[in-house]
Symmetry: C2
Subunit: 318 residues, 2 copies
């Protein structure tokens, strides 16, 4: 390891190397607590890499909560508290207040307390959030069983397409589809869906780094393979329409793009039938889509061909 | 509030203004949890303002845990878990590993789990820690009663003197007293002391921003005043000796310097007699020193004269 730089490794490998020092749980850490599990997760947003300049201060505040609550939701837990360490350059108090109001609003929306935090002076806006949650039964990435249905909440690729449009200014801001802007600038964690799914899913994670990264995570940690049906990947009509106009292939955003906060999960065939009915009847905002199956072997395949494991990763020199 | 910048306010006032949005507890937030209280706190360290260049990577890792555990200890709670969000420029993996090993060691030392975290690429090293703890009885800043003895663990001013020596290169590194270097570069949270004191203290906080800041916090939040005996402020022999050589007044560091992680607390006279005996017998590393009394009125006084409320504060233009 002499003279090995972080950029030679990439975030995934760094974390693997540090695993023996860290009691990392899963998407979040989980600790037995009387008859439940306390679930805790931390996630940082850094101005230059995480914050699009089209985001309002309030949206920045909402997002630091959303990405942390997503890790709680993906464990099948319900968030109850949030803490914020905020590093900021000198700025208008009104703007700072908008960030904090966004945090506060988002906490309230998910019945959580904003438990406070720490303010620091830094050169670039840097927000570190910690979310706390509870569940009777944490759903891990490692629980997938051969024969399970692989499914996902909502649509994929929306946020990655939105980021591309904004960064490259492919469309005037005012002409971007509302759904794409919303998912890109103001994503919501799938908290009610996670709470519902914990009673059925054998494994679960969110797809924040990309669908393929999360499929590989579940497959590898469960010592199994996944066969993916590319035709079934749920992509919204707005994304199909917009990417068509721009001559872009939406499936690439859905497979390899980060920034969606949908839940990827596996369930037994019996449970899939149960949740399919409940999903259609219960008024969930996000439809569950079956997109593959857990199989023997290792890796993620589509039509027998291995799929590339690629998504957003820090310290990765591409 | 139009056109008001953070630097016009200072950290204390910023936090006060945001109080109605935040359910801040005290040094840490506390939430009833079965028959106990879950205590949670977050604190950030930023390269340019918190990390002396004399610190080793391992000391940096230890310190981010120490400052967070100090907030847990000052509530009379015992830490059980720690999470780290780490923003870092590209660096040698060995150095990064040293930071994480420091975090891991410090967690183990205080019987806590290193519950994992998040790594991000940032321009400057930025560590945000969150500590979780438990207590049957959180000790707040607001519980001081008129007639209480005001006391403190250990010695004051050590770290502030050490920072001054290092920043201004007043003494060759190798010739600085070991005790001063240790408290400056590798402070320890007073976890056993906090656990012991929770059964006796009416109010408690740490003195990380300065003694006077913490005295004012306790006085203001308890709607009381504090009469301080300047002659009783505990300053170590090494600090007296070193500051004497440098022609510096150690009392200034003890009153207004940040970076010490001692506990400031108030107890009834009856309890003071009890803990005095236990403190001398029980092999605590840090002696408790009586340095004042809670009185009627508001503010902090010494010999009838009001003491300046001053210490380390972010976003403060001095």
């Amino acid at each position: 390891m002499k003279n090995m730089k972080l950029s030679n490794l990439g975030e995934k490998k760094i974390i693997k190397k540090l695993m023996d020092l860290i009691d990392i749980g899963d998407d979040a850490a989980y600790i037995p607590f009387d008859d439940k599990f306390l679930v805790a997760s931390t996630d940082m947003m850094y101005c230059k890499t995480h914050i699009l300049k089209e985001m309002s201060y309030r949206q920045i505040g909402k997002k630091i909560v959303a990405i942390n609550f997503s890790d709680i939701a993906s464990m099948g837990a319900e968030p109850f508290g949030f803490l914020l360490s905020c590093g900021s350059p000198d700025m208008e108090f009104e703007n700072f207040n908008e960030i904090i109001s966004g945090v506060s609003d988002q906490c309230k929306k998910y019945n959580s307390k904003f438990l406070g935090g720490d303010t620091n002076e830094t050169d670039e806006l840097t927000l570190a959030g910690t979310a706390l949650g509870l569940t009777e039964k944490p759903v891990l990435r490692s629980g997938a069983k051969v024969g399970d249905i692989v499914a996902v909440t909502g649509f994929l690729g929306t946020s990655a397409l939105g980021v591309e449009i904004l960064l490259k200014k492919l469309i005037n801001f005012n002409e971007i589809e509302g759904e794409i802007l919303k998912e890109t600038l103001e994503p919501e964690p799938r908290v009610p869906e996670g709470k519902f799914l914990k009673n059925y899913a054998n494994s679960m994670t969110d797809v924040s780094d990309s669908l393929t990264v999360s499929l590989y995570d579940i497959a590898d940690m469960s010592n199994a393979g996944i066969e993916l049906n590319l035709n079934k990947i749920p992509i919204s009509n707005n994304v199909i329409k917009t990417s068509g106009k721009l001559n872009l292939n939406p499936i690439n955003y859905a497979l390899y793009g980060g920034g969606d906060y949908e839940l990827l999960f596996t369930v037994s065939k019996e449970n899939w039938e149960k949740i399919k009915i409940k999903n259609s009847r219960s008024g969930f905002k996000y439809k569950f889509t079956r997109l593959g199956e857990v199989v023997k072997g290792r890796g993620v395949f589509a039509g027998g061909k291995k799929i590339r494991n690629s998504g957003y990763e820090h310290f990765r020199v591409l």
